[in-house]
Every structure is written in structure tokens, then in C-alpha cells.
């Protein structure tokens, strides 16, 4: 398997505080990978350390089939979490500058920058100074800068934060196009719906440690069903466990627990003589897994 990024035992300390603790995961080439974690869990420090902005205290990082960060950088696009560009410069000049630093000739850097500005709807702002743009616009320009050299690996730290839904959708479409081109996309977030929508594989960190890594569907299956959805003309009373109305009138979701399993639910409906039109075991959502894993990790770490 060819990996776009392999992290092994990565550890980073600031003084006596360990902010990234022995983290290992790998990202396959051509996939969109979600890097999850609550605020302050160490996502940004992990990314910065992996990219060589910070020096790791232990561990190894390999890019694009075994390259060091320095060797791989011309083929990597990076959107930092903390946004900012040269405020007094024109948008087109900034893109030309960053494009050149990523290996494009002067004219090509400008042309490619303008082409991408077209795609994000900012072409008419090309001669404006960065300080004249809104925060969302600046973020889009920075996003454009990370794609300007058609990188093989795109690393985005909280790319959707602060953007309106239209721009979030635009960015997702552009990332899908990048994936279709063959690029690998890694993005960090704490917005779980974005990960469920875009990624097949994820890594979850909490309190500086990796607590979950792998295929999202497999993770959910491995957890087993945690609820049952039943659709019927009426519902029996007296079933234990949490219940909630799931969507339309005839549908109910039973939360499974030690006191309530799918067989007990089926028996209850059969005893009451109610004919079921739907009986479906539901896998846990990423949200459920996230909350459970992060809570467990916090309890474990005190």
C-alpha cells in the first residue's frame, strides 16, 4: 500500500507538557482523510510537527512514499489553522509569490492563481489588497494558495471554520475535484458531519493521544448496533430503555442497553399483535462514537 503520509510514534513536548503523545497513523494515497479531535486535543500541533514546522521529540514522519517533510514540501499544499496573508499586498501578488515558492514559474503562478480565484468567485478582487477582503474571502484566498501548485497531498487545518455554508460547499466540491485528480486530502476538524460526508477513514485524538483510527464504516460496525428503529401502526407500552420519536409518526427509535435488546423489542410487538412494517438495527453515529471515546479518554486520563 502506498501511503501519502505515515506517522509513527510522533511525540511533541512543550517544556514538561506533552501535547502530542506517541501518535501513529497512516493516510493512503488518493483518499480523503478526516483528522478528528475536540478543541485543544493536539490536532494542530500534530500537523505542524508532521510538516516540520515544529521539531518532534520522538517518532517518524514520512510523506509520499518515504520522503522527509523538507523533500516533500514542494508537492504538499497546506492551509494553516491560523489564517493570514500579506495584508498590504494585492491578492494576485500574494498568490504569484506563494506559487513561485512552490515551484511554479512567475507567469504560470499568476495564471494559475487567477484561474483558481475564478473558481472561488474572487477574480474581481484580484487587484484588491488582502486587508480589504473579508475574513471568509481571505480564507478562500489562502485555500487557493494551498492548491496553486496542484499538490499531491493537501493538508487543511480546520478548513471550514468561519465560512458560510455556500463557501463550505464550494470548498468541498473543489476538494472532491482534487481527489478525482489523484490528490490525497487530509483535513482536521471537530465538525463530525463534515467527516461523515467526505471521509472514508478517520483518526480521532483526544488529550494528545490517538484513540481511534481506521475505516469509518468498519469502526461503526465493530461497535455493533446501539439502537433499533421500528415502523408500525402502533407501539406497545412498557418497553424499558430510552425511546424517542424518529422522524414521522409511525416510527420509533429504541436505544439499546443491557436491559433492552432487539429480541425483547420484537417479542413485545409480537405479544401485542402489532405487525411491523420496518425493523432496523442502527449503527452508532460518528457523533455517538466521538462523545463516547472522548469521554472515556478523559475519564481514563483523569
Amino acid at each position: 500500500m502506498a501511503y501519502a503520509l505515515e506517522i509513527e510514534g510522533l511525540t511533541k513536548r512543550f517544556g514538561n507538557k506533552t501535547v502530542v503523545h506517541d501518535i501513529s497513523f497512516s493516510v493512503e494515497q488518493g483518499e480523503v482523510f478526516g483528522f478528528l479531535g475536540p478543541n485543544g486535543s493536539g490536532k494542530t500541533t500534530t500537523i505542524r510537527t508532521a510538516l516540520g514546522i515544529l521539531r518532534q521529540d520522538a517518532g517518524e514522519v514520512r510523506f509520499l512514499g518515504g520522503l522527509s517533510a523538507e523533500e516533500a514540501m514542494p508537492r504538499v499544499g497546506y492551509l494553516p489553522e491560523e489564517r493570514g496573508l500579506l495584508r498590504k499586498e494585492k491578492v494576485s501578488n500574494v498568490l504569484r509569490y506563494l506559487g513561485r515558492l512552490r515551484g511554479l514559474p512567475k507567469t504560470e503562478a499568476l495564471d494559475r492563481g487567477l484561474e483558481l480565484l475564478h473558481r472561488v468567485g474572487l477574480y474581481e478582487h484580484r487587484d484588491k489588497k488582502v486587508e480589504g477582503l473579508s475574513r471568509g474571502m481571505t480564507q478562500l484566498v489562502q485555500f487557493v494558495a494551498s492548491l496553486i501548485h496542484s499538490p499531491e497531498l493537501i493538508i487543511l487545518d480546520e478548513p471550514f471554520s468561519g465560512l458560510d455554508p455556500l463557501n463550505v460547499q464550494l470548498m468541498k466540491e473543489m476538494l472532491a475535484a482534487e481527489q478525482a485528480r489523484g490528490a490525497t486530502v487530509i483535513f482536521s476538524t471537530h465538525v463530525l458531519s463534515d467527516v461523515e460526508e467526505m471521509s472514508e477513514r478517520v483518526a480521532l485524538i483526544a488529550d494528545s493521544r490517538l484513540i481511534l483510527f481506521g475505516d469509518l464504516h468498519e469502526i461503526r460496525v465493530s461497535r455493533g448496533a446501539n439502537a433499533v428503529v421500528v415502523e408500525a401502526p402502533s407501539h406497545p407500552s412498557g418497553l424499558p430503555g430510552a425511546q424517542k420519536q424518529a422522524g414521522r409518526g409511525g416510527q420509533i427509535e429504541y436505544r439499546l442497553s443491557d436491559e433492552l435488546n432487539p429480541e425483547m423489542i420484537l417479542n413485545a410487538y409480537a405479544s401485542a399483535g402489532i405487525v411491523l412494517s420496518r425493523f432496523e438495527q442502527v449503527l452508532p453515529s460518528l457523533n455517538d462514537i466521538f462523545i463516547e471515546e472522548v469521554s472515556n479518554a478523559r475519564q481514563k486520563n483523569g
Binding site: 505542524r48 493570514g84 495584508r87 506563494l98 515558492l101
Partner: protein, 415 residues
């Protein structure tokens, strides 16, 4: 990947250079200094022609002077251009009012005994600043000497000596002679160069401080360090802004080269101004060496600071030593090989300006100046290397309060 680093440094150099010369502050400063030069070259002489005087001529008294002689001391005085003999005081006052003469001098009959002369003048201004007083002194010298002295003796009475200087070294050898004017002519450019050097170094390194601090403050630096090495960033920035500073000096020197010949006609002292090629080479060498030292320090301060304001406050501590030789010029120029001058020559922060001051003072130890240049250049190279590390380490200090300990810790972490 040395090839990529060199190419990146060149890109950063081009961008920084072009950004710097587009800055309003740089343009105003670059144009402002020559405008001042041109003011002194053309406008000031015109003003002085209109309001000033040129009373130094030997065969004329300059602006018209009237005199009334009651003592007969000037009875046989031959007519001099601009000197008007007047008989009556009322006629003299009228000539003053009409503007025919600038001053009226009345020599009383007991002049030879008392030396007292009445001086009538119009308008405001100090009499001590009025050159007609000196001009009439010469008239009186000629008048008193009368036929007792030859013309040559009278000339020497008025202008007793023009000194020719010979320097004797420790072995008793005498070097080439020069005049006082020559000495001033050689000293003045070195002094002016020292001022220009200081200004340009300050502008260049100050811009670097601003550039680094802003890029750190607006997080642009994270985009840069993932594009190229911190050394390429630092080298590109320092050379780009340094080249802009050199362009500034080149513009100033060009304007000076054009304007000094113009101004020298107006000011006799400037006619002897001479700029040796050695001095220009030394100045450029000191510019680079000094600029590297200050730029590296400024970049380090910018990288380790959390805001532009904090960086500006700290940078003032570094700037002060560079000004010391300018303030101490009254001590260095008269004694260019004294202990103070020699110590300041070997301290990288003061070496560029102190060395120029020593040259202005006519140092006999040029080898020390060259050695000071080497020390400054080596310090510049070392500080550049260090600043690249601090620049990298500065990334670790986002939002942290700066202390020596935190910078040291960040330096170790940055590798």
C-alpha cells in the same frame, strides 16, 4: 536541496526588494534626502545671493559701503569697487535709505588715538552677522598702512597665512603635504558617509524588523516555512531589503555627485571636497557588513516578539549603540586613534560609523579600520546564521511572552 533553496532565496529577494521600493516610507525617504541636498545646492545659494554677502574679495569690498573720513587717514586711499566716499552725514543717511549702500562708516578725527568708528546700518539682524564690518576692517588696514607698506605687505597684513600641513609619523618621516582646506575636503565626505550609512542601515534593518514581525503576526510565516527553509527566507529577505538600501545610497550619491560641483561654486569650502575611490569601496563594504549585523539582530527580535509594538521597543536597545559614534564624533574626529575610537571600531554595532569618523579624522591606522570591517563582517555572518534559527524558533512563541528562557527553549526545540 541547495538548488531549490537558492532559487527560493532569489524569489524572496525579488519580492522583498520590489515590495520595499513600492513602500511610501522608502520612497519619501529616498526622495527627501536628495531634495534637501538640492535645496542646499541650488536654492540656498540663491537665497544667500539675494540676502547674503560675499565680502571676501581682495580687490573689492563686496556690497557697497559708504564712508566719511574726518581723520584724513583714508585721504590717499585709492578707489576700491563698492567703496564710496561721502562728505556729509545727511548724504550718507540718504544713500542708506535709498539702498545705494549697505553700511555707512564715519571715521572721527581722533580715530588713530581711539580706534572708534561710527557704523550706520539699516534694518534688523545682528551687526556681528553683517560682513560689511569685516570688509571695512580691511579698508582701514589698507588706509592705515598707506605708503609705508608695499602691496604685498598689505596683502599679508589682511591675510597673514595659508597653512600647509605636514604630518610627521613616529619614525620622523613626513608624508605628503596638504592644506587645511584639503583636510576638511577629505573629512567632510567621510562624515557625510557615516550619516548616510547609519540612516540607510536603520531604514533597511527597520524594514526587516517590520517585515518579519508582520509576517509572524499575520501568520504568513507558516505558509513560508512550509514552502522553503528558514535560511532561504532569511537570506532572501535580508538581501532584498539590503539591495533596496544600497539603491537608496546609490541615488543619494548620484544626486550628491551632481549637486556638489554646483554648490562648490557657491561655497568656497566645498571646492576642495574630494571623495577617494577607496572611501566609496570602504563605505559600501561597511554598509553590507553593518547592515548584516543589524538586519540579523532585527530579524531575530522580530521573530522572537509577539507584536510589532513589542519588537519596536526592543529594537531601540540595539539601535542606540550605532548612534554613539555620531554623538561621540567630537571626541573621535580630533583623536581618531584614541582609545575610544579604537574600541568602537572593533564593536560590530558601532564599527561602521566609528570607522567612518576615524577616516574623517585622518586616522594613521587604516589597518585597524580594515580589521574592524572584517570583525563586523564575521559578526554579520554569525548573526545571520543565528537569526535563521531564531526565526524558525520564533514560530514556537505564538502568543507567548518573550523571555530569554523562552527564546532559548524555542531555539532548542526548533533544532
Amino acid at each position: 536541496m541547495p538548488g531549490k533553496k537558492t532559487a527560493d532565496a532569489r524569489i524572496i529577494f525579488e519580492e522583498e526588494f520590489s515590495r520595499q521600493i513600492r513602500r511610501t516610507g522608502w520612497r519619501v525617504f529616498t526622495v527627501g534626502v536628495p531634495v534637501l541636498m538640492l535645496f542646499f545646492a541650488f536654492i540656498l545659494p540663491m537665497i544667500m545671493d539675494r540676502f547674503g554677502s560675499d565680502g571676501e574679495g581682495g580687490d573689492s569690498v563686496g556690497e557697497a559701503i559708504g564712508f566719511i573720513d574726518h581723520s584724513d587717514v583714508a585721504e590717499n586711499l585709492e578707489p576700491l569697487p563698492g567703496l564710496i566716499r561721502i562728505e556729509e552725514l545727511d548724504d550718507g543717511r540718504k544713500a542708506l535709505v535709498d539702498g545705494d549702500i549697505k553700511s555707512l562708516f564715519v571715521i572721527p578725527d581722533d580715530y588713530l588715538l581711539t580706534g572708534e568708528v561710527d557704523w550706520y546700518r539699516i534694518g534688523s539682524g545682528l551687526a556681528s552677522d553683517d560682513n560689511t564690518g569685516d570688509a571695512f576692517h580691511n579698508v582701514l588696514r589698507i588706509a592705515v598702512a598707506d605708503d609705508a607698506l608695499t602691496d604685498a605687505q598689505i596683502t599679508r597684513l589682511i591675510s597673514p597665512a595659508s597653512y600647509k600641513l605636514f604630518k610627521v609619523d613616529e619614525l620622523g618621516q613626513t608624508d605628503t603635504s596638504s592644506s587645511l582646506k584639503d583636510e576638511i575636503g577629505k573629512a567632510a565626505p567621510a562624515f557625510i558617509f557615516a550619516m548616510m550609512l547609519m540612516m540607510s542601515i536603520f531604514v533597511g534593518s527597520g524594514s526587516l524588523l517590520q517585515s518579519v514581525t508582520e509576517e509572524k503576526e499575520n501568520r504568513m510565516v507558516e505558509m513560508l516555512v512550509t514552502s522553503t527553509s528558514s535560511m532561504a527566507i532569511m537570506v532572501g529577505k535580508v538581501l532584498g531589503l539590503g539591495a533596496a538600501g544600497l539603491l537608496q545610497i546609490a541615488i543619494w550619491l548620484t544626486v550628491a555627485a551632481i549637486s556638489v560641483p554646483q554648490i562648490s561654486d557657491q561655497f568656497s569650502g566645498l571646492s576642495s571636497l574630494s571623495v577617494e575611490p577607496d572611501l566609496i569601496i570602504l563605505m559600501i563594504a561597511f554598509y553590507f557588513a553593518g547592515y548584516f549585523v543589524f538586519a540579523a539582530l532585527m530579524a531575530s527580535i522580530g521573530a522572537a516578539s509577539t507584536s510589532v509594538r513589542e519588537a519596536s521597543q526592543i529594537s531601540a536597545i540595539v539601535m542606540v549603540p550605532a548612534i554613539v559614534p555620531i554623538y561621540a564624533s567630537a571626541l573621535i574626529i580630533p583623536n581618531p586613534d584614541g582609545t575610544l575610537a579604537r574600541v568602537l571600531t572593533f564593536f560590530p554595532l558601532t564599527s561602521p560609523t566609528a570607522s567612518m569618523m576615524r577616516i574623517a579624522g585622518g586616522t594613521d591606522r587604516m589597518y585597524e579600520v580594515v580589521l574592524g570591517l572584517v570583525v563586523t563582517a564575521l559578526a554579520g555572518i554569525f548573526l545571520m546564521w543565528l537569526s535563521a534559527r531564531v526565526f524558525r524558533a520564533g514560530l514556537l512563541l505564538y502568543g507567548q511572552r518573550m523571555s530569554i528562557r523562552s527564546v532559548w527553549g524555542a531555539l532548542r526545540q526548533s533544532g
